[in-house]
Symmetry: C2
């Protein structure tokens, strides 16, 4: 096609408000320039904070983000991801028993696991060292003199929930502190989990002096429940979270927590996925980011 | 095609893990069963709360939600919405000068304005009565005895920012209370806006005794700034928000605010859009929902 012909066509297209049809384009090139990001409810503030930098990173590289929600009540079907409309998938919410990664792998759809991982599959993965983060919390509590420690863990069928529990228990048991069964609770990573569990822990005849929470959203629920009972932090109670979402730094909470670098995690995930799309046969990568304690205002020595 | 042939084809397709190609299907039927939802940053918790019930409502009716972000720094181009991949669009963030609604209308792409509206276009619209909500706040402040009132408004180029400001001023001026210029601030609907503005207001030689905030996210920033200065609410300061997002009800805040029914708004928007897709020539509808005050723990009489 000559330059002049091309120009005349482009001009006519502009005059007619023509926009290239993605449907037509995908049939010819097979690339859709669309990436599916699978997340849990967006009303859980953890996910927007992880997803926003992924969306930005993908946008910079010319990809659009299709956000798809996967919920326990209504699990995502593979058909939604494998209908040819996506060049690749980022999974942020895989549970240890998820079949989705296996189904993506068997269909040769490029994907990356971020935030949560699965032991049973070889896949590109980017996660925090959750165990080390929780061990750091255990060491902090011990340094402060805590012996009566409680915990509100996330779900055991997620690698984040499992590894943070393992880390806390390991760190405490090194100095002979154990977690009594009546001071531990477990539930989904939600405000409601933290709120309900903290009320139960406070109803205990000898309530805990410090409570580790499986993530910040749980910790914010626990914080609210403690405030609702008239407690003042950290004078009456120590609460430590995990993730360092934006809200943790608000003066209204001043939550002591473990920082996960969402931007670094998002960038690593986007980079891995685009590499995988270009070179499907590359060996799989597993990247582990190191968390660190952020000391704010919800930790202190036990009330004497 | 005979039933037996169809069955043999379906069986072969299953054996080959075949999933219908959306790209192929869209070319033949023109319907993609995809709806674009345009929102601002998801890290602003207002948007997830509005979007989640829309996504659910669309899912129930067999539609997938493609979430697309429109940001001031990187405004959305019409090409992203008009490439044939969407059956319709829900706009949650239109500013008064937005060209997007006009471009969608001229391309005959079904769309609905929700949360924010635009005067210059005939379109299906679902909004709160923002003016009446802010008037109710003015009446509350007056009943409590407040005369030294400040405000942190949202952007004037949004109908929500504009109408809430108009309502507050109208309600106050009915009883002869005015908003001094040095006690008003304005900015994007963000935590940072509220945090910075509240610090400035508190630096005033005679700070306000009550502050109206353009939305809850601004109010949470203002709350944090006040706590950071050692103030106790409502003893030292009254703060009232707008929206009643989930966080407003947390005991850590106990924010007095104006309730907008997100679920009703989302359902109305989904209903209008699907009607419009079926019957493009229907007359346009405008639905206005009534807000109501929610009295929690951040309002009280001025310190004497």
């Amino acid at each position: 096609m000559s330059e002049a012909t091309r120009n005349r066509i482009m001009e006519a297209a502009r005059a007619l408000s023509y926009v290239p049809s993605e449907a037509g384009r995908s049939l010819s090139t097979k690339a859709t320039k669309r990436i599916g990001v699978v997340s849990a409810e967006l009303t859980n503030p953890f996910f927007p904070q992880l997803i926003e930098p992924m969306r930005e990173g993908l946008e910079k590289r010319g990809y659009r983000t299709l956000l798809i929600t996967d919920r326990a009540e209504n699990p995502l079907e593979i058909g939604l991801l494998a209908d040819g409309s996506l060049d690749g998938v980022i999974l942020t919410t895989a549970t240890l028993g998820s079949s989705l990664p296996h189904e993506l792998a068997s269909r040769r759809i490029p994907f990356v696991l971020v935030n949560r991982e699965i032991d049973s599959i070889a896949a590109d993965t980017c996660v925090m060292d959750n165990r080390s983060g929780a061990e750091q919390v255990a060491q902090l509590l011990i340094r402060l003199g805590h012996r009566r420690v409680g915990a509100i863990f996330g779900p055991q069928e997620t690698s984040t929930g499992r590894d943070r529990e393992v880390g806390l228990r390991a760190g405490l048991s090194e100095v002979g502190v154990s977690l009594p069964r009546n001071l531990t609770r477990r539930g989904p990573f939600s405000y409601e989990t933290g709120h309900r569990a903290m009320r139960e822990l406070l109803d205990n005849p000898t309530p805990p002096a410090a409570v580790f929470c499986g993530n910040d959203v749980i910790a914010l629920g626990a914080h609210s429940a403690a405030i609702g009972r008239g407690l003042r932090l950290p004078r009456d109670l120590t609460i430590v979270g995990f993730d360092d979402i934006a809200m943790a730094s608000w003066e209204s909470f001043g939550l002591t927590t473990v920082r996960c670098d969402f931007t670094a995690m998002a960038e690593a995930a986007v980079g891995m996925l685009l590499k995988r799309i270009k070179q499907p046969s590359l060996p799989h990568q597993r990247q582990v980011l190191s968390p660190r304690l952020v000391l704010r205002g919800t930790h202190g020595p036990p009330a004497s």
